[in-house]
Amino acid sequence: MPEEQHNEDQQQEEQFKKQHYTEAQKSDIFEKEFMVHVDSMYNFAYRLTFDGDDSKDLVQDTYLKAFRFINSFERGTNAKAWLFRILKNSFINDFRKKSKQPAKVDYNEVEQFYNSDDAGSKITTDLRVETVQDMIGDEISGALNGIPVDFRTVIILSDLEGFTYEEMSKILDIPIGTVRSRLHRARNMMKEKLAAYAKEMGYAKKD
C-alpha cells in the first residue's frame, strides 16, 4: 500500500474514538449495521463510476475497509454516513487515481464560476414542471450523470439518500455552507441539462 494512502487511512482511523469489540460483536455490527446499506452503497458507487464491475470493486473495498476499521465505528451511530464517507474517500483516493481517463471537467473551475457574484445572472433555467412530468427516469438519470462528479455527489446524497446537510458535510469533508451552495449549483446544472434536453427532443411546450 502506498505510504500516502496508508497515512490517510490511519488519519481516518484516528479521527474517531477507538472501540474494543469482540469478534462476535464485530460480526454482529457488520451484519446488522453495515450490510443493510449494501443496496444504497452499490447505487452510490454505480452513479460515481457508471460501471458495474468498478462499482462492485468499490463497494467490496469499502466493506473491507469498514471491517478493518470497525473499532473506529461507534455502535448505534450513523453507520450509513460512515460507510458513505469511506466509499467516497476510496473513490477519490483509489479509483480516480487508478482511472486512466482523467476527469473531463475541472470541478474547481466550474464551482468557481458558479460561486462568482455574477453567476446568478448567467443562469437562466427555463424548466417547466410539465416538462419534467413528461420525462422518464432514464432521461432524468441521464441529466444527473451529465454533471461533474462532485456536483452529482451532493444530489445523490441529498435527493436520493436523504442525508442532511450536516451529514453531507461530514461525508464530503466540506463546510456546511459549501454543501448548501454546491447543492444549489448542482440542481441548477441539472435543470439546465433537462431544459436543453427537452428543447432538443421537442418536449418543451410553447406558450
Binding site: 452499490y42 463497494v59 448548501r180
Partner: protein
C-alpha cells in the same frame, strides 16, 4: 439548524425591493431549496411562509420549485441499478463471515 439564520436573513433581504416585490428569483430559489430540504430554522421558516402567503410571485416560484424537485426525486429513486446477485456473498467471504 441555526447555521443558516444570518445567511437566510441577508439573502431574503436581497430578494426583494423596497416595495416588497420579488426582484431576484434566482436568489429566492436558494431560500426555497433550503426550506424544502428542511434545513431552515423556525424563525426563517416563519418569515418565508409569511412571504409566500402574501406574494403571488414568491408563491409561484416556491410551488414550481417544489414540484420540480419532487418529480426529479421520485424519478431518480425509481431508477436504481439492481444489486448484483453475488455481491453480498462476495463481501461476506472477503471478511470471512
Amino acid at each position: 439548524m441555526g447555521e443558516f439564520r444570518d445567511w437566510f436573513k441577508s439573502t431574503f433581504k436581497k430578494c426583494y425591493c423596497e416595495q416588497g416585490n420579488l426582484v431576484d428569483e434566482e436568489r429566492f430559489q436558494e431560500l426555497v431549496q433550503l426550506v424544502l430540504d428542511g434545513e431552515a430554522d423556525e424563525e426563517s421558516k416563519k418569515i418565508f411562509e409569511e412571504k409566500i402567503r402574501t406574494c403571488v410571485k414568491s408563491n409561484f416560484t416556491f410551488e414550481n420549485e417544489k414540484k420540480i424537485q419532487e418529480q426529479i426525486k421520485t424519478k431518480l429513486c425509481t431508477h436504481k441499478s439492481d444489486l448484483p446477485n453475488d455481491l453480498i456473498q462476495t463481501i461476506r467471504n472477503s471478511v470471512n463471515l
